[in-house]
């Protein structure tokens, strides 16, 4: 048997090392991404036969049901509306958070403290934080309203009229910090010489923000907005943390609808949910590309 040379041994060792390091993630990717998604796509064309105990070909019937339900089930309309509101508000918050990030970036009064406070929700788990928020809005605020203003008030999460607003507020309060951290980190990468040159040219802080900082972080902002479009139909708005599977239809988002449906579904329901997922993906993909194209066209450029 031919003896391996030192170079060959090194090559084999390197290959073995590479496989041991990359093998598991690749395997995981193949099973849990390619396999699961492929199975999900195929499932959309099947139905479960309880007697035979297997999925059988069902043609396009699941898609027919999905399109019919989009037209007839009012809560799906409400879910689309809430998902779009969620995205719309996220754009507003993104704009506001860039202002705020600029404030922190410029190290103005209490900027560091604000950064710390904003990061707090991320130290505590989302579920615990939503519980704290729920108790605060349902117990503490009514308590103060009663004792300070002698006004009987229902909890903001319990009251169907304020529920959506309260959950939206929570979502953006907790999401705001992520954006601020992201934008302020992106801003800190701006070369000091660029800023100094601007100051020497006599730009005001407002002009510095609009004509120097925003163009320099525009790609980060774009990424955030495009990813937001791609996740319009999967964003849950923390509804599961607040309500479990019992959220009212009035606050549904599409992400919550799908998650809840999958959690409660029987084997017969998975094909319908797969078809719904495919339809929504078919909508989200062109929307995301369109958003990316539009933002690339309309946005400011660093040069």
């Amino acid at each position: 048997m031919k003896k391996l040379t030192g170079r060959q041994k090194t090559k084999i060792k390197s290959a073995a090392f590479y496989v041991s390091l990359v093998g598991l993630p690749v395997l995981q990717f193949c099973i849990f991404y390619i396999g699961v998604n492929l199975n999900s796509i195929l499932l959309a064309f099947k139905a479960y036969d309880m007697g035979a105990g297997e999925y059988v070909f069902y043609g396009l019937n699941n898609f027919t049901k999905v399109f019919r339900d989009f037209g007839t089930l009012a809560y799906l309309g409400s879910a689309i509306k809430n998902s779009l509101i969620l995205y719309g508000v996220s754009i507003l918050v993104a704009l506001f958070s860039t202002f705020f990030s600029f404030y922190i970036y410029k190290k103005r009064l209490l900027g560091g403290l604000f950064r710390f406070i904003l990061f707090l929700p991320h130290i505590v788990s989302a579920l615990v934080f939503s519980l704290i928020f729920m108790y605060f809005t349902d117990e503490v605020i009514p308590f103060f309203a009663d004792n300070l203003f002698h006004t009987a008030m229902e909890g903001l999460i319990s009251n169907p009229k304020t529920q959506l607003g309260a959950v939206l507020f929570f979502t953006f309060w907790t999401g705001f910090s992520t954006q601020v951290l992201m934008f302020s980190s992106s801003m800190s990468g701006i070369s000091d010489s660029v800023i100094e040159a601007g100051i020497m040219d006599g730009v005001t802080p407002l002009k510095e923000f609009f004509y120097i900082v925003v163009p320099m972080v525009w790609s980060t902002l774009c990424t955030f907005l495009v990813v937001g479009v791609a996740t319009i139909f999967t964003a849950q708005m923390n509804l599961f943390s607040f309500f479990g599977t019992s959220a009212e239809y009035g606050v549904y988002t599409f992400g919550y609808y799908l998650y809840r449906a999958a959690k409660l579904a029987g084997v017969s329901d998975y094909p319908y949910l797969s078809a719904t997922g495919l339809v929504l993906t078919a909508v989200a993909i062109p929307l995301s590309f369109l958003a990316r194209f539009a933002l690339g066209k309309v946005g400011p450029h660093a040069d």
Partner: protein, 563 residues
């Protein structure tokens, strides 16, 4: 340095693999030390209202009884390892194929789904083998149970475990001390008065079942009486109801309990069998006081199953809940708060009559397992209030069966309870052809001997959903509440409905066809009547909305009725 980083990387990968593989193991609660000389049987249990004290007792008894029996070569005896978790049936379905628990006592189990996917073993053999009490498990099942259990392919894949009913629980001591029972009207054979007893010794009305000397004596037999009762409670500064605001599911317990009892076993069960004849509301005429209804009887089959949403009992159940929810004096102020859990509601109910800072609460909407679940607050009240808090008399309330007046003696309706739990014991198919299979089957057989069924009830306060009796001594050892429930379910005239059926459409579409209370009203969907009433919708709005929503999706089941 380069070598070191490689070693560290490999170690990291191994740790990751280890962590991933360890996730495939059993639940963390199964921590008992393994006895290598015995064969282990892993028994998973849903840690709910019935607790696990009974299983611990069963484990000790079984291990003792089978200490000298070998289930595999080189080992003697069995070790039962209990894995308590909060995972109910639907969650278990997701992981049972890769789980190493052998036996599951659980609830919320869609048995046909487990069986169809070959996740569980058929249990026909142990159902027909004689138990140590000389009977068979099959002999302890009713004919309806056997029909439903074997509907998929003729085999039995699960044996009914516990039997629980959602509904109204009431404080009997409060009812007695405040004279909240209706009086027996001797002149009218008990059928007219609508008056309350004046002293504790007064004869009580017949109650909904129309028979004197039964559990429901003096309780409201009509909606009119129920409303009078709530008014009287408010006049006496008693809060009629408390329930959890965390989920609308509990208010649906009230709806289901009322609906089942109003329609009776046969007509209520049509919601799952889609076969029979039933009374529906065919026409409603608006009046200044609400609506007057015309009713009709129609035949039900798969093609018009949506008409069951027009059953009279469904409307009156909605009317009752609407009446309760639209007057804040009728319910505890926290009952609409999302932070007020079912455990909080139980605690408020238990404390209210003893705590002078609280108004007494007369009724709790919860399941028949609630007292076992509330053992902590009950123990605390005994510590705080002494003898006043001991041996509290709570009861499970049979609900009204007519709109106005009072049920006359002999003119009542046998109670129908709705067991909505879907609770079964199943054996994991992974045990097939292993020594565990024999052990698991032996253990299940052992759990269904009369002696151990009785032990289950005396320990948990809950009945098993099979036929067996308790001795007089055992009945008296139950808490007053458990005794009240036992006496109700053990009455020969009582019917116990469940969401099961041999109907092919129901078997295939079980999740979608579960008893629905969701509605669509003027293009707005409501998950439950609870939320619709909170949005100022009327009972009739919701009644119509449930019909509209059900009808809109009924064509999905067309394959079952298009010949």
């Amino acid at each position: 340095m380069k070598k070191l980083s490689k070693v560290l990387s490999v170690i990291s990968v191994l740790i990751l693999i280890g962590a991933a593989v360890s996730g495939c193991g059993r639940g963390s609660s199964a921590t008992e030390k393994i006895d290598e000389t015995k064969t282990q049987l892993y028994v998973a249990i849903f840690e709910g209202g019935t607790g696990d004290a009974w299983l611990k007792t069963l484990k000790a008894k079984f291990e003792r009884a089978y200490a000298d029996v070998s289930f595999e070569n080189g080992k003697l005896g069995a070790q039962i390892i209990i894995d308590s978790s909060k995972n109910a049936g639907r969650t278990v379905l997701d992981y049972i194929a890769g789980d190493s628990n052998d036996v599951y006592f659980n609830e919320g189990i869609s048995l046909n789904t487990f069986a169809s996917q070959k996740y569980v073993l058929p249990l026909d053999d142990i159902c027909d083998e004689p138990l140590s009490d000389g009977k068979t498990i099959r002999s302890k099942l009713s004919s309806d149970q056997i029909t439903n259990l074997t509907a998929l392919d003729g085999h039995i894949y699960g044996i009914p475990h516990y039997e629980c009913y959602g509904g109204v629980n009431y404080d009997k001591d409060l009812f007695s001390s405040k004279r909240l029972y209706f009086a027996y009207d001797a002149e009218n054979n008990g059928g007219e008065a609508n008056e309350f007893i004046k002293k504790s010794s007064d004869a009580r009305s017949c109650g909904p079942d129309g028979a004197r000397g039964t559990e429901d004596d003096g309780l409201p037999s009509s909606l009119e009486e129920f409303y009078l009762l709530m008014e009287k409670m408010v006049e006496m500064s008693i809060v009629p109801f408390v329930w959890t605001g965390k989920t609308s599911t509990y208010t649906e317990y009230l709806l289901n309990a009322f609906y089942a009892n109003w329609m009776g076993y046969e007509e209520f069960s049509e919601n799952f069998t889609f076969s029979g004849n039933t009374e529906i509301i065919s026409k409603a005429t608006a009046t200044t006081n609400g609506y007057t209804f015309e009713t009709d009887r129609i035949d039900i089959q798969e093609s018009n199953g949506y008409m069951l949403t027009k059953q009279t009992g469904r409307y009156y159940a909605l009317e009752l809940l609407h009446k309760i929810m639209t007057n804040p004096a009728y319910y505890y102020s926290k009952s609409t708060q999302i932070t007020f859990s079912h455990l909080d509601a139980q605690e408020a109910f238990v404390y209210s009559r003893l705590d002078t800072k609280m108004q007494p609460i007369a009724m709790l909407i919860d399941g028949s397992w609630w007292e076992n679940e509330a053992s902590d607050p009950i123990a605390r009240t005994i510590k705080a209030y002494g003898s006043d808090a001991e041996n509290r008399n709570f009861g499970f309330m049979p609900l009204p069966v007519r709109v106005g007046g009072s049920v006359a003696e002999g003119g009542g309706k046998a109670l129908t309870l709705f067991d909505h739990m879907g609770s079964y014991v199943i054996i994991n198919a992974n045990t097939k052809n292993t020594p565990k299979e024999t052990l698991a089957k032996q253990f299940v057989k052992y759990a269904y001997t009369d002696e151990n069924l009785q032990m289950f009830t005396t320990t948990s306060g809950t009945a098993k959903a099979v036929a067996y009796d308790l001795t007089a001594e055992q009945v008296s050892s139950l808490s007053p509440y458990s005794r009240s429930v036992w006496n109700l379910r053990n009455n020969p005239s009582v019917n116990i409905a469940s969401a099961n059926s041999p109907n092919e459409m129901f078997i295939n579409e079980e999740v979608a066809l579960k008893l629905a209370w969701s509605s669509v009203i003027r293009n707005q969907n409501y998950l439950s009547p609870y939320s619709a009433f909170r949005d100022s919708k009327t009972a009739y709005d919701v009644f119509g909305g449930i019909y509209e929503l059900t009808l809109s999706g009924w064509s999905d089941y067309g394959e079952y009725f298009k010949a």
